[in-house]
């Protein structure tokens, strides 16, 4: 079985984001594997550990993404392809076109895993566009996955805690949500081995693609945190009475 996993290099969710200029941010912060992609990497690794085959990571990012690619390789993947660009934010359609080209050049896979969204640009659609380009089915927000008789079965969360049970033909794209699995922690020997695994770097320009770039990031604005809370003191009963009065009469958020 051959499995691709799409992995994005994103800022640590704990990092402060400082906007620079009109539409950039200070990138001298910690970057790591997009959290949702960790579930994708883990599911791919488990599948191949069971069925045999190889897990190939595909990343589109700046050259500095190599660090994240190496750390992802320590989580049960075999090799990686890194397409280098000079931008952190690409249009989802462009990213999908790049992923598709790389995958077609590398040879078809049985399953492609991805995260359901990247935590920086949060566009939530790259996996769909990749599937469309490859003309294969896609399910996103996936919290359970299994394969049997050349069919993939997934559970996908929908509103109100309900879940859809979906069956897909293979190959297909599976975009992971939290709950799909418990990602492993890399052990030191895995980290050492990952350093020697193959990472093929390709410059975006060398792919010969014409990108459409129909979505433009015009501005990025900082959102300030709220200022500190008004602390409601006094006894428990007095405090909750005051709170309810404020919520009903001043804020008018409850009736």
């Amino acid at each position: 079985m051959k499995v691709f996993v799409c992995v994005k290099n994103v800022p640590d969710t704990a990092a402060n984001i400082r906007v620079v200029g009109e539409n950039s941010f200070d990138e001298s912060i910690k970057f790591l594997i997009n959290p949702y992609d960790e579930y994708a990497i883990e599911e791919a690794a488990r599948l191949v550990e069971k069925e045999g085959g190889e897990v190939v990571l595909v990343t589109v990012g700046k050259e500095s993404a190599i660090k994240t690619v190496r750390s992802a390789l320590a989580l049960g993947s075999h090799r990686a392809i890194l397409v280098t660009t000079d931008k952190q934010f690409l249009d989802s359609a462009d990213t999908a076109a790049i992923l598709q080209k790389v995958m077609e050049d590398d040879g078809p896979a049985d399953i492609i895993f991805a995260g359901k969204q990247a935590v920086d640009s949060e566009a939530m659609q790259t996996a769909y566009r990749l599937a469309e380009g490859l003309n294969i089915p896609i399910a996103s927000d996936v919290t359970e996955f299994s394969v049997a008789n050349d069919k993939v079965s997934v559970e996908r969360e929908i509103g109100g805690g309900e879940r859809e049970i979906i069956e897909m033909t293979m190959p297909c794209v599976v975009a992971a949500s939290k709950g799909l699995n418990e990602p492993r922690y890399p052990k030191l020997p895995d980290v050492m081995k990952a350093k020697k695994k193959e990472v093929k770097q390709i410059a975006l320009a060398d792919l010969g693609l014409t990108l459409t770039s129909e979505t433009k990031l015009v501005t990025l604005e900082q959102v300030p945190d709220r200022s500190g809370a008004k602390i409601i003191g006094g006894s428990v009963s007095g405090g909750v009475a005051e709170l309810v009065k404020i919520l009903r009469e001043d804020e008018k958020v409850i009736s």
Partner: protein, 315 residues
């Protein structure tokens, strides 16, 4: 004149209240609003959709295909309706259903899509949406043949704009597709308010300590017609299901009132509830970080304060 289509979500043939904000986002000078409806009784939705400015309800069916079980065919049918009624704009709720269908439509038409939008400006094809989980807001300009946007529930304040809605049946020729089939829908404990669309949420963190203890939060939420949420720690410890986790790797919620009970206030938790109108924290530690970034706070033990709050609400 701009023709705007809005994908309507229903439960049991009723238009979900969360759609009203999306319909309001569709309003504009000379806009003609088309409500796209699948799998629901259009006549029954006429009055409520008219109230929010819908001129035409397009009741979409596949030619024999089960659109609910085959989202790819549903997307195809919606594209056919967009072409038939020449709607250059398609809006939906940024819910799991809305995002899924819009992404399929956008991928198939090869046009831009913005999800989780806080506001849209149809005349300039721009949207405002969070980047970095609410730490920043991005303005995106989209230059495609169609303008597609999924709008965060409760982001746009509903405004009525009464119109007379006509029902039009539309049958799309979609063929068949077996690549992806929804086999079954597993219900959750029924009748619960959907977290992403809830107006009031009471959330519990680590000190809740057990599944049973969530009951005190449920009672408090019930007293306000709200829903219950959880921090990641409560989910990972098994006190609450994944489906109610709020935050970076959970649900994004946008209620009028969010009450965080025994939650420390990590950036990842705020990633999911930062845009709530009013945030209240109940925490026994007066130095808990959450008190620095919410609106009201009560310093105290949740097991005393929450039941007292429930009792006060019942008065």
């Amino acid at each position: 004149m701009t023709k705007v289509a809005v994908l309507i979500e229903t439960t049991d043939n009723e238009v979900k209240a969360a759609n009203f904000g999306v319909l309001t986002a569709a309003h504009g000078d000379g806009h003609e609003i088309y409500a796209f409806l699948t799998g629901a009784d259009a006549e029954g939705c006429k009055a409520v959709l008219g109230k929010y400015g819908v001129g035409a309800i397009i009741s979409i069916e596949g030619d024999g295909a089960d659109l609910q079980a085959k989202p790819d065919l549903k997307a195809k049918a919606i594209i056919a309706a967009m072409k038939e009624y020449e709607t250059s704009v398609l809006l939906a709720l940024s819910s799991s259903e809305g995002r899924d269908i819009l992404a399929r439509v956008a991928a198939s038409l090869k046009v831009p899509l913005a999800t989780d939008c806080l506001s849209v400006d149809i005349s300039s094809s721009t949207v405002r949406k969070p980047y970095f989980s609410g730490k920043t807001i991005a303005t995106l300009k989209m230059n495609g043949a169609y303008f597609l946007s999924a709008i965060r529930p409760n982001a746009v304040e509903p405004a009525e704009a009464p119109a007379e809605a006509a029902v039009i049946s539309f049958t799309a020729v979609v063929g068949d597709y077996d690549g992806l089939v929804v086999k079954e829908i597993k219900q959750s404990s029924s009748g619960k308010v959907d977290l992403s669309e809830a107006n009031v949420i009471v959330s519990g963190g680590r000190p809740i300590g057990s599944e049973e203890n969530f009951k005190i939060l449920e009672e408090c939420a019930d007293a306000m017609g709200g829903a219950v949420g959880a921090s990641r720690v409560s989910v990972d410890e098994g006190y609450a299901p994944h489906s109610i986790q709020v935050g970076q790797t959970g649900k994004i919620v946008n209620p009028r009132l969010y009450i965080a009970c025994g939650i420390s206030g990590s950036v990842q938790h705020f990633a999911g509830m930062k845009t709530s109108k009013v945030i209240v924290a109940i925490n026994s530690d007066k130095d808990a970080p959450i008190f620095n970034k919410c609106d009201y706070g009560i310093v105290g033990d949740i097991f005393e304060v929450v039941p007292a709050l429930t009792a006060e609400l019942a008065k």
